[in-house]
Symmetry: C2
Subunit: 581 residues, 2 copies
């Protein structure tokens, strides 16, 4: 090796040793004729010192070293006169006797510091420099540690990691596929997998029993902070199990990760019905770091002549604890925030429970103080609280109130990134109506099994059929989702029929899987975790970008390598395709 | 779980316990009124027994179970009267009290046995059934174990696994890229990576210091037994190292794998110069499980009037030990084999060293016995040996003789799959001349550094410049290859110039990397192992197909899922492409 030690390991026990270090010049300063240089590598920082004892040419060379120069230095480990208890190597410094410049560096376009002055675009272009910063490097080291612990846990429970293909078949279900033209089969295309779903099910048919894979998946969808065209899943499947077994094994994985990576003993993960999650939080991924549950008010508020409430399908509110002192201006501002097109509220009703015990609402014309006392009772409100109420069509108003609840949670400091609350959401609907295509879509995917007792409703009330499907939610983010699968050809065919496939289409697209079900398919089910999201939650980040070494921007571009880009005509000719702009 | 135990774990210590097993019916037989069924899962086989004590309906049901039915049985663990010492569960059987058919099965299209009657195509179509067979499952479990041990070894040495992107940029160097049209950037394409080469180098520039990744790579090349369009690499890179460090770390990995996976203590891996490998074996990946080294005969045979030898650039041969008794017919057959177009030999000269001490060649007209004695001496031949000699243009004749040597090694049983001989081949040429394009190509890749002492020859004798490049060869198969990289912009530019890039082209394609070299790039180097090949060698297989769960055939097709396939016009319209057939 070019070095004897790293920049993070020397301490008082090495005093007097002659060592060689390699790294980057973090900073350099002259103090009364002595030059100090901090040299940095992945493992830490070490202070180099060049003082009046040093050779003149060495001192001169030391003063020529710019930030981010790559150097190799040899010298003696000395005890510092002024120690730095915050640095692992803060007790020592190196009295340098030799320097070699391994590579000079231009002045970086932004500071390589924990808090940098570089804008997002500049840092994306020079991602290799951004990756030098501690916070980003720590995220990727966290990610590595998490992958290690996932594998350790699953390896220890007889799961086998099997690689499934990346060049697969395009299917009409789910999100948009990325496709890959085949040169050897002109006019034909591969697709990149949105998940290894059918392959992991086939592995169960093959008897692999417990499968997992940490695997890249691809979706050609419009992008946002927590979506990338390529993303990573912890993909798992088990045979001869019930839903309870899956929940237990993967609750165990979640506990293992919190314990080994964060040192946190997460409590048992509570479980909630999908229907309850929608009723109490207006979301299938409630953030239960805080309460502020929805209270439905139809019985309390209707029939008093307030037409907005009287005409609404649902009147529902939350209790913002301790917010009675919100000014009119604050409430107006909140109302404006709710009126943005993304949320689309037309108006918000409030009721202050003043600290003097009086109640004051924005609809005093229709509700007297006695009636408001009933409101307060419904919310178990106390003096000092602020009740916020929305009204409208049930699904819509729940979604809106979910936004309001999350916003109030944030404003009240109830959503601390270092607090973690996990939740299982169970019994999702099997199907959801899609207005645009005028048909039902699989809410999870077409291979999810309906609850046996609900199958009869497939014809009469398809929207009410519940699935053996479950999500793991942490801090209001969906981290994992899965289901018990169909393993019976007839039921799978029925499912495709309800999704609008003709028998021929179903056979063409998924015949291999339905055929496989006829050759001895065991009962099976599984789950997939969004590994990028899981890492970002563990790292306390809002976006998944900074747990990915080389992410793409919102246009799907990598601006560092400048891709996508045009390709040579010769390439297109070989592939028998052309672009039509 | 639907079971209390697996089919591989019950033994005499479980006698009397009531257990529930799940699995597939392997076989069923009736013996004097008693029905025996072997039930199989990933973990093993267990014998079920239904005898005259059993309930009538249960016995009837047991007789209705076909091969590959998925069943769940409950019963008591009984001691067998006739034990089977070859089976882990051979001491016991289950006296069944309950059966549930979890899924019936059609008769499989081929036998689910270690030796099956299914042809390759049929097994590919029903790959999920082929994967049930022990040999294939064992290959995939071996692969899992190998990936585990690779990670354990590298994790333990401060390597960080970092995921690099799959949607990258198409570049003109190397093999043909698979490309992916970008919907969000019409007319532009991503490419799938042939390796994460530039990304891992950027990670070194970022200071990651020790990187690895077990990663899918893609090459759109014509296929053969050891090539697939998608394949897996163990990809590694280190900074602040010399070639010696890389060789040591990865020799350590190789030893670790042989030890932990095969229980083999591999000796220290010998090292050979590329030039010597070519001279002694006619190959840059010699199989050194056996000797049979080349002996060059120019000094011995020229000038005796035999024009074929006199006109040849190189006369070179091998000594086939103990083959003096080869008949004329056998030698003719060998010559015919060499004359096939793939090898293209025009003629082979032989010299028998008979057991009686006489020497007899096919060119006695030109060489008397004294002269043949000189031949024999050159080969250190002994009575009973057969000397086989080819002549021609150096590179060509070496390649031909390599084929002959390997064939003779095989015929003589010197290439046993359970014997392992690893070899480092060092100091590859930097460049190789490509007749077709009329320019030099990078033998390894354009980022490989030339030996400093050879740089001056880039202008005068480019073909003689040696690279800091090395391959790991096991049993004549290239398993890994790598190099010390260029980390200096000027040298990288010079390299691109010699590869025929204009400065503009070089900047357009690889500007991001050359720019990165200006911001403090450390000296670095790495290696990548072909994980599929490594697994196939460990599994004793000739092809990589059966260490891959879902491989493609020679036309790049997955016949099970029927891909590649046509896609909808709507998809092509969205992507702004069309096919031109």
């Amino acid at each position: 090796m070019l070095r004897t030690h790293t920049c993070g390991e020397l301490n008082i026990s090495h005093l007097g040793e002659t060592v060689t270090l390699c790294g980057w010049v973090q900073k350099s300063r002259d103090l009364g004729g002595t030059t100090f240089i901090d040299v940095r590598d992945r493992y830490g920082l070490t202070q180099l010192v060049f003082n009046t004892d040093s050779d003149d040419s060495l001192r001169e060379l030391s003063r020529s070293l710019g930030r981010e120069f790559v150097i190799r230095v040899t010298g003696k480990v000395l005890e510092r006169t002024s120690k730095n208890a915050k640095m692992a190597t803060g007790d020592i410094e190196i009295g340098v006797t030799e320097i070699e410049i391994l590579n000079p560096a231009k002045i970086p376009p932004f500071m390589i510091e924990d808090e940098t002055d570089g804008g997002e675009e500049l840092r994306a272009k020079y991602r290799y420099l951004d990756l030098r910063r501690n916070p980003i490097r720590n995220n990727l080291m966290l990610r590595h540690k998490m992958a290690q612990e996932v594998r350790k846990y699953l390896d220890g429970r007889d799961f086998i990691e099997v690689e499934t293909p990346v060049l697969i078949k395009s299917t009409p279900e789910g999100a948009r596929d990325f496709v890959v033209p085949s040169r050897m089969n002109p006019g034909e295309f591969y697709a990149l997998p949105q998940s290894p779903q059918t392959f992991k099910q086939l592995l169960m048919v093959s008897g692999f029993d417990r499968y997992f894979q940490i695997v890249k998946c691809f979706r050609d969808e419009d992008l946002r902070a927590d979506r990338q065209p390529e993303f990573t899943q912890i993909d798992c499947e088990m045979a001869f199990i019930t839903q309870e077994d899956i929940l237990n094994i993967f609750e165990g994985l979640t506990h293992h990760l919190f314990k080994t990576v964060k040192g946190i003993n997460l409590p048992a993960i509570p479980r909630m019905q999908y229907a309850d999650a929608m009723r109490l939080y207006g979301s299938d991924k409630p953030d239960i770091r805080f309460g502020m549950e929805f209270v439905e008010l139809n019985d309390v508020v209707k029939g008093k002549g307030f037409s907005i409430f009287d005409n609404a399908e649902l009147v529902v509110g939350i209790n913002a604890k301790g917010c009675a002192d919100y000014t009119r201006k604050q409430i107006d501002e909140l109302t404006e925030w709710l009126k943005r097109p993304q949320i689309g509220v037309t108006g918000m009703i409030y009721c202050r429970y003043n600290t003097d015990g009086t109640l004051k609402s924005s609809v005093d014309k229709f509700y007297n103080e006695d009636e408001l006392t009933n409101w307060a009772a419904a919310f178990s409100a106390e003096p000092g609280d602020l009740i916020l109420v929305l009204a409208g069509q049930t699904d819509k108003v729940r979604k809106q109130l979910n936004e309001l609840r999350l916003e109030m949670g944030t404003r009240l400091g109830l959503r601390d990134k270092n607090t973690f609350a996990a939740l299982w959401v169970l019994d999702f609907p099997l199907l959801e109506w899609d207005e645009e295509s005028g048909r039902y879509h699989a809410m999870h995917h077409p291979f999810t099994s309906p609850k046996p007792e609900d199958i009869a409703m497939l014809d009469t009330a398809p929207g009410d059929v519940r699935a053996n499907a479950y999500d793991l939610v942490i801090n209001g983010t969906e981290i994992g989702g899965g289901s018990i699968r169909i393993h019976d050809r007839a039921l799978q065919s029925l499912m495709f029929k309800h999704l609008g496939f003709s028998p021929e289409e179903a056979q063409k697209q998924f015949g291999f899987l339905m055929d496989a079900f006829e050759y001895g398919a065991p009962p099976h089910g599984g789950i997939a975790f969004g590994f990028d999201r899981l890492c970002s939650i563990f790292a306390g980040l809002d976006s998944i970008r900074d747990v990915i070494a080389f992410p793409k921007n919102n246009s799907g571009r990598d601006v560092m390598i400048d891709t996508p880009s045009t390709i040579a005509d010769a390439q297109m000719n070989e592939l028998k395709i052309k672009t039509v702009l």
